[in-house]
Amino acid sequence: MNYIPEKRHPSEYKEEDLRVLAERIYELDTKVYEHLGSSLGRVFTKDRERCVEELVWEMLARNQGHIVRSDLALISNMARTIRDRQVKKELMIEYDKILSDVTSLPTSFAEGDVLNEQRSRLNKTNLHTRFSEKDHTIICIGRTFGSGGSEIGFTLADKLKINYYDAEIFSEVLRRLEAEKDHVHDKGGFPYILDQENKDRYVDTRPAFATEQKVTFHQKLKEFSRYHGLPKKDAIFFNQSQLICDMAKKEDFVVMGRCADVILANNKIPHISIYITAPFEQRLRRVMSVNPRLSEKKAREMLNRLDKKHVRYFKFYTGLEWGKAMNYDLCVNSASYGIQGSVDMILRMFKGEEE
């Protein structure tokens, strides 16, 4: 007898129903993979939780339903090659049921609210209602060079008594990749005043997206092997992504740049994303006051160059536009509040929510 799913109105579907369906799809793929013993055509290669989240999102989104059906078709292609007829039959029956359920889903769950539930659920300020105690406080700060973003982040971490990460992440990644640390520098975007003791560490340093130095063919070959055939920047980015996600499961922290907000959003890890900037002339003045050796022309060139590199780096790894307000939870013009004022404002927002 054919399996006929129950037809329901969009409002009758709960996200939990879709999650159960997504779990079944993931389960089917896993079973097919286990019976074939080859990972060559496995459809869902990431961890269970993430794949299920993605599937739920695809089922919810208006124009993504076809992707779920395509994924199912791929799983069935693989399932048809299973030699054990009994197992194949069982899996194909399950496939048919899932396909019927997916086909019977409404084409849209859309309602009038502007709220993006996916994004809102990742917002740390909603944690008190939506997340358990095990979730950590993670603040991702993106900033323009010279806007005081690093100092704001550092002070914020200090006030909240949580860790601050910038260069440390990069060092850890290099350790993982067994790279020669002498040849790669990344000590953050700007020397922050609070760390006066180690001020020298931050002078003349290069950010992660700085132009690579020229290397010989032999070095290139070595790098090819070391970075799994990937360009060095990409390998570092992938490892940074993994590291940021690992850390997010263990501790509270403030992280500066590195597309951390997008990485965490992609991995469904709650966080707050803040973008800090200031008018160009203000940033220019600050850069020149912190580094008196720089002429105005050079400082201006440097700011322009770094802004462009930031934009390219962010676009390449996230597909989003850097500095565009809609990509962040909060955008701050540090020129309006000053460093301490910005920290206080963010703290007020943060603590207010906690109270």
Binding site: L40, V43, F224, H228, L230, F238, V262, N266
Partner: protein, 446 residues
Amino acid sequence: MSIAFCIPFIGILLCIAVMPLVKGEWWERHQPLVAAFWSLLFIIPFGIVFGAGEAAQTVLECIIGDYLSFIVLLFGLFCVSGNITMEGDLAGSPRVNIILLTIGTLLSSLIGTTGASMLMVRPVIKMNSWRRHRKHIMVFFIFLVSNIGGCLTPIGDPPLLMGFSRGVPFFWSLHLLPILLFNMLVLLFIFYWIDRKKYCREIARGRVPDISKPGTRISIKGLHNLIFLAMIVAAVILSGILPDLPVFQTSEGTVKGIHIFGEVTLTFPVMIEMAIILLAAYLSFRTTSGEIRKKNHFTWGAIKEVAVLFAGIFITMQPALMLLKSVGGELGLTKPVQMFWVTGALSSFLDNTPTYLVFLTTSGAMEFTNGIITTLGQIPVGMLTAISCGAVFMGANTYIGNAPNFMVKSISDENGIHMPSFFGYIVWSFCILVPVFLLDTLVFFR
């Protein structure tokens, strides 16, 4: 010969194009029936018009003379390459893919487009398994590895082997190197930008390859199968050399063999070729652990699909080939540019080997006084270049243009890649290959 006899050929092509989209599961189960239906739709009317004997001879000639050696070669390469597996943590990125496609393209001229395709297809799929959108990689794989790369030697692609057996020097095809390099450069450049865009999209969506372990380790298992691969390549070369040896020729100059029906003979060189290939496949299976095939997700699905559909295609395309043979010389093709496009356009849908032969014969009969001396007459270098490039390159225009195209599609479909439909693929080739061939025309065939 009425053009109406070509209807079954068009019918089977339309089925291949449309049925997977409208009735996928039914199509998968009933492919043999569909192939048989269209074949009979050609054989019966042909028998009524020309007589049962003529019909039987036409079908047997195509099955014994062409299809059998074609499918045995494909089967052998499929088996042997399925017994070689590559494990490693090289991550599929635009750079890595460019390297793989370059290696595959150059390998095509050494071990044939089918051999290179079968050998490279799984590593390419495996390295890119972390990515979701991969069809463009396989499309360019078909363009370069399964077709264009085979132009440098007679081993590369069957039409060139036919040319070699008709007196074209073995190393003459190396003259096509500048054209190959030009096409490679242009196509790889286009590929790089498409792949880079897709790669960035994967990263933006949070997909990352597993590079947690420091350094890259690559291990290839079943490497001894390269010996069997060499056996198959040797068998292909022999099939081009043996028919010309006096020991294999009768006093009338025809090739010796087992007489089947009418003028149909299963020749000894073909039997030797098939025997070597089947022996290589058998030895490959006997000497390789089943674990390797399991890791490769080795199934008979892809070869079964190709065997069934191409049986139908080979039979139903006979009227089109007959028409081509009868009118080929009257088409008035006298310039390389005409030869390039007409040979190419027909090779996109018909078997490129007979298409190549028709136009080689046409050129040979034009009584040119300069050029390469062949058994068919003297052929100017420009004409031979155009015919060779047209036949080899434009096999990439459709899934049925060259045997490995469909194999790559089937293996990709089975291994988690959404390959374009028949028409979808033609759109890809129309948008990318046709402009490149136009460039070829401007640079090399004006």
